[in-house]
């Protein structure tokens, strides 16, 4: 009798805990801010970003939640022009007037996925101006590094900010960044620079929020594709070079077999430059001890 009651209590408790976990909510506030981006060569051009505060910073917020959690995003348009918000492949586009805000709710059931949130209005103009970040749905506690990969054509940024059209068939970007930084500054970003030990499981979450295709080459190690937003048939492949198309996301897993400092860079070798200067582009090193 006592045993039966105990079993029922355990079942009820399990159900309660499960409901609670499903109901777990993560709240994130995003401000649409506009300002100036200062490149590695001190060149400046307009940039807009989703920041956690009303103060402009040229890097979009990274959102990390656990599988099963509900994300509630309050997006505040802190700019003087209309904007919109969308989580690609998850929510619909919602417009936001200057000074107004919206609340977007999305449930993320599956772990090991990456979503891109962005301003889809007049796509790709405002996304190219900088308004795109990533949401990582975690499933484990492995050391994880985040790369928001984005390139810019300096002269076009002004046109984007003014709302002027450009001819995308002439696109020739001249700045190539990870989390808003270029070589050698990417190595100063603890979120981006892969640091780990031999035998450790390391994960890299990558979102291409630019408009070019990038081809990221790892020295020293092969990595396994854990997740591909556009090509699920690529999952499980072990490679050293990873193409990533615009608005695509990947999760890679590396288990280093030896120590060393090894580069990772775009193998479109034009993209390892900034303002036409080599090697100030999409190039960093990973450090394995």
């Amino acid at each position: 009798m006592f045993k039966a009651i105990l079993c029922r209590l355990i079942i009820l408790w399990s159900a309660f805990v499960g409901c609670d976990a499903r109901a777990q909510e993560v709240f994130q506030r995003l401000y649409i801010n506009s300002g100036e981006y200062t490149a590695v060569d001190s060149a400046q051009f307009p940039f807009s970003a989703f920041n956690a505060t009303p103060q402009f910073f040229p890097e979009n917020v990274r959102i990390s939640i656990n599988a099963g959690e509900t994300l509630k995003v309050r997006v505040v348009n802190n700019d003087s022009v209309n904007h919109a918000f969308q989580i690609k492949d998850k929510t619909t586009q919602v417009g936001i007037a200057p000074g107004d805000s919206i609340l977007v709710t999305a449930v993320f059931d599956t772990g090991d996925e990456v979503f891109i949130y962005h301003d889809p209005m007049d796509y790709p103009r405002l996304t190219a101006l900088g308004l795109a970040g990533l949401i990582h749905v975690k499933s484990n506690s492995n050391s994880t590094f985040y790369w928001n990969v984005k390139e810019f054509q300096k002269e076009w940024a002004t046109q984007h900010a003014l709302g002027n059209p450009v001819n995308w068939s002439d696109y020739y970007p001249d700045y190539f960044t990870i989390n808003g930084r270029s070589n050698p500054n990417i190595n100063n970003d603890a979120v981006a620079r892969i640091v780990g030990g031999v035998g450790e499981t390391l994960r890299v979450v990558i979102a291409n929020t630019g408009q070019s295709i990038h081809s990221l080459h790892f020295h020293g190690y092969h990595a396994e594709i854990i997740y591909s937003s556009e090509n699920s048939q690529h999952e499980g492949r072990s490679k050293d070079t990873f193409p990533i198309k615009p608005m695509e996301s990947l999760i890679l897993e590396i288990v280093p077999d030896k120590p060393g400092e090894y580069p990772v860079h775009d193998h479109n070798l034009v993209a390892v430059s900034a303002g036409g200067i080599y090697p100030n582009g999409m190039f960093l090193t990973m450090l394995i001890q």
Binding site: Y171, P184, H219, R237, S238, P243, H267, L269, V270, Y278
Partner: protein, 397 residues
């Protein structure tokens, strides 16, 4: 005495195990003839003094598990050069990246050491101001062949009879002027700021060839055997490869690793730095073309197409119409027997008149065997190639 014997054995063993270094020479004085008849200056790799460094450089082949040494001799003034073994996952010292490993200066030798890892298709290239030096021509193919045999993709993989390698790249002639190629370089600086021009290639290459130069490049195969294609992109554009449907192509490996799930397709995109292995299993004879498109990574626009001939022959027809594929001489043979193979490789067996197996090996090209210790008598050399089995009797007097 015993210790001395041990030392001698160790020394002898080491000598026996050591592989001959692969020689590569780096030059800044290459000349390349383009399909439009113009010549441009290139950098590149050669294997002989006096040899024009080609674009691409020589294809290197090593065997899985081998301890490989590349003796890189830089005979070029100006910036140093290195060899990056792209995809081979070598240790930091041998990775060929300036300031993280060593640079090889004018008239210096640099020795790159690694154990050949997974069988597959790799690339080597200079990593000094790589945007310029790769465009200049300092790259080549590196194939790791499986220990189980040349005509296998990897141990437990596929057997194939024919093999073709296509290495894609582009050339922007504006990058091939001295004002670009002969850039400043200060070895003491960890970051060399070098200006690179806008990249607007006019020439789109396969194995360094384009347009009518590709007439001599043909992917050959037969209709009852596998054909293995090694496809690599070392350019700064994307490639889209379109296979004739008759090839029955399927993608089986990438970047030196088998794919967990093969992909049956007639179209394959290869981005800069990637390599793919494609197994074709044609079931009929035909002539067609492989189309290679070059698309801009910023716009997605296809700027150019190149074509490679495909000639799949009827194996039965070849067997009936052709002469023997394998030739042996002299016959009778007293001290040495030479085997010449017209195809890529033949597996051969020598059996005596009692049917006992005397020798089993594979032969590529031409090879001579010492038969002085073979007893006098009649023997049969059996060969197996893509075109079937042949039997060649011979006499040892």
């Amino acid at each position: 005495m015993r210790a001395l014997l041990c030392i001698l054995l160790i020394c002898f063993g080491t000598t026996c195990l050591a592989q001959d270094p692969i020689q590569l020479i780096g030059r800044n004085t290459g000349e390349k003839l383009l399909s439009d008849g113009n010549e441009i200056r290139t950098f590149g790799f050669a294997q002989e003094i006096g040899e024009n460094p080609g674009v691409p450089g020589p294809s290197l082949e090593v065997i899985e598990g081998d301890s490989v040494v590349i003796d890189f001799w830089n005979i070029s003034q100006g910036a140093p050069h290195t060899i990056h073994l792209h995809g081979l996952d070598v240790d930091q010292q041998n990775d060929g990246v300036p300031h993280l490993s060593f640079e090889v200066h004018h008239m210096e030798h640099g020795f790159y050491r690694f154990k050949a890892p997974h069988p597959g298709t790799y690339v080597y290239h200079c990593h000094v101001v790589s945007s310029i030096h790769v465009q200049a021509g300092m790259f080549g193919l590196l194939i790791v062949r499986p220990a189980v045999g040349d005509n296998y993709t990897w141990e437990g993989g596929y057997n194939y009879w024919y093999e073709s390698s296509l290495l894609m790249s582009e050339i922007d002639t504006n990058w091939h002027h001295d004002s670009v190629l002969l850039h400043d370089y200060d070895t003491n600086m960890s970051h060399h700021h070098v200006r690179i021009p806008k990249y607007k290639p006019q020439h789109f290459l396969i194995n360094g060839l384009a347009e009518q130069q590709l007439d001599d490049l043909t992917i050959r195969g037969v209709n009852d055997g596998n054909l293995y294609l090694r496809l690599s992109n070392i350019g700064y554009f994307g490639n889209r490869i379109i296979f004739p449907s008759g090839l029955n192509a399927r993608v089986i490996d990438s970047d030196g690793r088998p794919l967990p799930v093969e992909e049956v397709t007639d179209t394959l995109e290869i981005l800069p730095g990637e390599r793919y292995g494609v197994l074709a299993a044609p079931d009929s004879a035909f002539m067609d073309e492989v189309i290679v498109q070059y698309f801009n990574l910023n716009t997605g626009i296809v700027l150019n197409e190149q074509y490679v001939n495909v000639n799949i022959e009827d194996a039965a027809g070849i067997k009936e119409s052709s002469k023997e594929v394998v030739r042996i001489y002299p016959n009778p043979a007293t001290s040495s027997l030479t085997v010449e193979v017209g195809l890529q490789e033949a597996e051969i067996q020598i059996v005596d008149s009692q049917g006992r197996l005397i020798l089993e090996t594979s032969v590529t090209g031409s090879e001579s065997f010492d038969i002085r210790n073979l007893p006098s008598g009649a023997y049969i050399l059996s060969s197996r190639t893509a075109l079937g089995i042949e039997n060649h009797p011979f006499i040892k007097p």
